[in-house]
């Protein structure tokens, strides 16, 4: 946690060297060369920040750790208390890993505002949309990679632990394994879900700029809809809420049983989250374009 002070210093020293070609390229080389240079600059920043590796590790630890805790506590004896959907249960950790993803993504944008680095970045690359796109791309790739490891951990936990807790084929439960189509969809969809949460966070961070406010907004947006849905007793309202809430709708992708009773089909649910992410990115891009940095 010594990061914050150094975080500002290290990239400020390193990045100009990395960004310099970007500033030069548009003049000398074809404009098409700009995008890779911006990407390389953002990649250098992400790579050299001490926090990035720890946060990626945190994504894996939080996601897989909570899943292990959840499947360990599952029990199914005498037909009582059996979870409905073992695959979804195994992927529970995604609901918590996403908070770390949000921090990572928010800091990628908001961190530059904290240190003033954003002025250097935008001076080097005046095409602000390209900067945001590059940041979004780098963060998303990192999160997808960490997410894949994390989700694999979740699936492994479900596969290895659940049969020992009574969720066996004898009780009518299929094994949680990627060989089954719905489980593969749930697992791959969970990785995509984390990537979309990263994009949503990047967009919101570009909108509000302050990391603290951004992280509060992202976590509020994700977690408060489910809590609100808990008290709405009207089934129609409840269903509508679950259809528009980014987290509830997005996590429909994890369902492998009872698909008919879902408020949205799995992929449509993930689409709702994608729409939220796209909206946040567009709004963030507009703010970045129209406001002083």
């Amino acid at each position: 946690m010594r990061g914050p002070v150094r975080a500002g210093v290290v990239p400020a020293g390193v990045a100009p060297a990395g960004v310099a070609p970007a500033g030069v390229a548009p003049a000398g080389v074809a404009p098409a060369g700009v995008v890779p240079a911006v990407l390389r600059a953002e990649w250098t920043k992400a790579r050299t920040l001490a926090g990035t590796a720890w946060l990626l590790l945190g994504v894996v630890a939080a996601t897989a750790g909570v899943s292990v805790f959840t499947v360990e506590s599952a029990s199914c004896h005498d037909g009582l208390g059996c979870p409905g959907d073992p695959a979804k249960l195994s992927l529970t950790g995604v609901q918590f890993g996403q908070a770390v993803v949000a921090v990572l993504a928010v800091l990628a944008v908001g961190g530059e505002y904290s240190t003033g680095m954003i002025r250097v970045t935008l001076a080097a690359v005046p095409r602000r949309a390209a900067v945001l796109a590059a940041k979004a791309a780098v963060v998303t790739v990192l999160v997808l990679a960490a997410g894949a490891v994390a989700v694999l951990g979740c699936v492994l936990a479900g596969r290895l632990v659940l049969p020992g807790h009574g969720l066996t084929q004898a009780h009518g439960y299929e094994l949680v394994w990627l060989g089954r189509g719905p489980v593969l969809r749930a697992a791959a969809g969970s990785v995509l879900y984390l990537g979309l949460v990263a994009l949503l966070s990047v967009g919101i961070a570009a909108m509000v700029r302050d990391p603290a406010v951004a992280i509060g907004a992202v976590l509020g947006l994700l977690y408060l809809f489910p809590i609100l849905a808990g008290v709405v007793t009207d089934p129609t309202w409840d269903r509508h809420l679950q259809q528009i809430a980014p987290m509830s709708a997005g996590l429909d992708i994890q369902a492998t049983t009872g698909l008919r009773s879902l408020p949205l089909s799995p992929w449509a649910g993930l689409g709702v989250l994608a729409a939220w992410a796209a909206g946040a990115l567009v709004a963030g891009g507009l703010v970045l374009r129209l406001h002083d940095a």
């Binding site: 360990e72 990391p211 976590l219 977690y223 809590i227 808990g230």
Partner: protein, 519 residues
Amino acid sequence: MTAGTVVAAPRPRVRGGGFGSLLRAEWTKFRSVRGWVIAMVVLVIVTAGFLLIGSDQCSVGNSACTVPLGPGGEAVDDSYYLVRQPLDGNGSLTVRVTSLTGQIQAGPSPAHVRVGTQGTNLRAGVAPWAKAGIILEPDTAQGTAYAAMMVTGAHGVRMQYDYTGDIAGLPGQVSAAFPRWLRLVRSGDVITGYDSADGTHWARVGTVTLPGLPATVQAGMFAASPSYWQTAGQSGTGGPTLATGAFDRVGLTGDWPSAAWAGADIGADAMSPQLPGGFRQDAGTLQVTGSGDIVPDIPGNGGGNGVNISVALLGTFVGLIVAVVVGAMLITAEYRRGLIRTTLAATPRRGQVLLAKVVVTGLVTFCTGLVAATAALAVGERSLRRGGSFIDPVSTLTEVRLVAGTAALLAVAAVLALALGAVARRSAAAVTIAIMVIVAPWMLSTLLAQGAARWLLSVTPAAGFAIQQAYPRYLQTSIDYTTDRAYGPLVPWAGFAVLCAWTLAALTLAFFLLRRRDA
């Protein structure tokens, strides 16, 4: 001479730089940042306005959405099968109970089971709080005063009265080999309950005064069996249950003018998952079968018809995020801008700086929280009532505790975020940790098995939400108090103490780190 000036100079500085001016400095920082002031207004609005979007299935005038009130003003469940006759003046009723059997509905979620539509899924089994025994009450209206002696499924002989009262008698389960004798004696307003294992050696279980008991009361045998509901993770099984008590050796003293027993279901309605009861009488024995319960109403998940008043405080979750963001920023913004160096140069005693920040954060959030919680209760109650819901009543003292407790919850959460901010020196980390440890356990608890959920909600700062529990726990109900958000595993002040302990630990860590580290 020079020594004199050196000594003299610091004095006014020390006086001017005391804790009071430190507080003023922190207060000035707080009030002069427009965003933080706006955040406090937002906190009030989101906390109070959260419920306006909700709606309820009860329509105005739907009798199913009202709940009878007991003699103490509390909401009650009052449904059972009663076999009665009137008793004039003083007298007594004695019975022998030779068995308590029952049926439990096993099957899918009984979300809204209607009377008469089930019966196919019943299997033998006695609910722990299934009860059969004798009862004495002024009339058969729901919510009326009463005193009763009963045998129960798993809790031995009990004397219960006026819904909240519960006294244990003989332990053990009743059977033909181990019958239980029960007796109620009325003398004016005073009812005394006795039990016996053999009909000759009697023990007094309890004496109850029912003020204003009329000369003629209704007395007789009853049977009731509460809904059985077992949750684990996201699924649950349960449904209505039935209990049958077998009575014989009925002995009456005093003036019982009607000389014949009359049976009736008391308090069955469309919302209660109650099964129809009945009674059979032959050759001195009576079999009484009934469903329902005679207990305080537990609003919400437990199957009660009323609404929990703390639902109106649900916006606290949103307000908490605002409070946490502001709390963390009060210190991380100083690190970000480098102001912390000025602050610490001006006041080298760093512990006092931290303390001043804690006081300002805590007080501002507490006062804002008071406004927010008061508004939330007022707005929430109005909007719930307009939706036709019945809010289970609470005492004024409880309402005061809910408001002050919610404000204190927000204040302590903000201070926790402040401490985390001083430790992490980075707002995103502090805000995330604070939100995850306070809010996330509630979400996770709904996915976990009961033991793990109970543990999680006892040891994490999330336990602080216990301060919003509005209704007392009654041990004589079959409600699971541990995973319901309205209760949680800890009682209000214990849960709040857990949050305070975590905050104190974080503050201690922040204090040492602030002293040891370079700013």
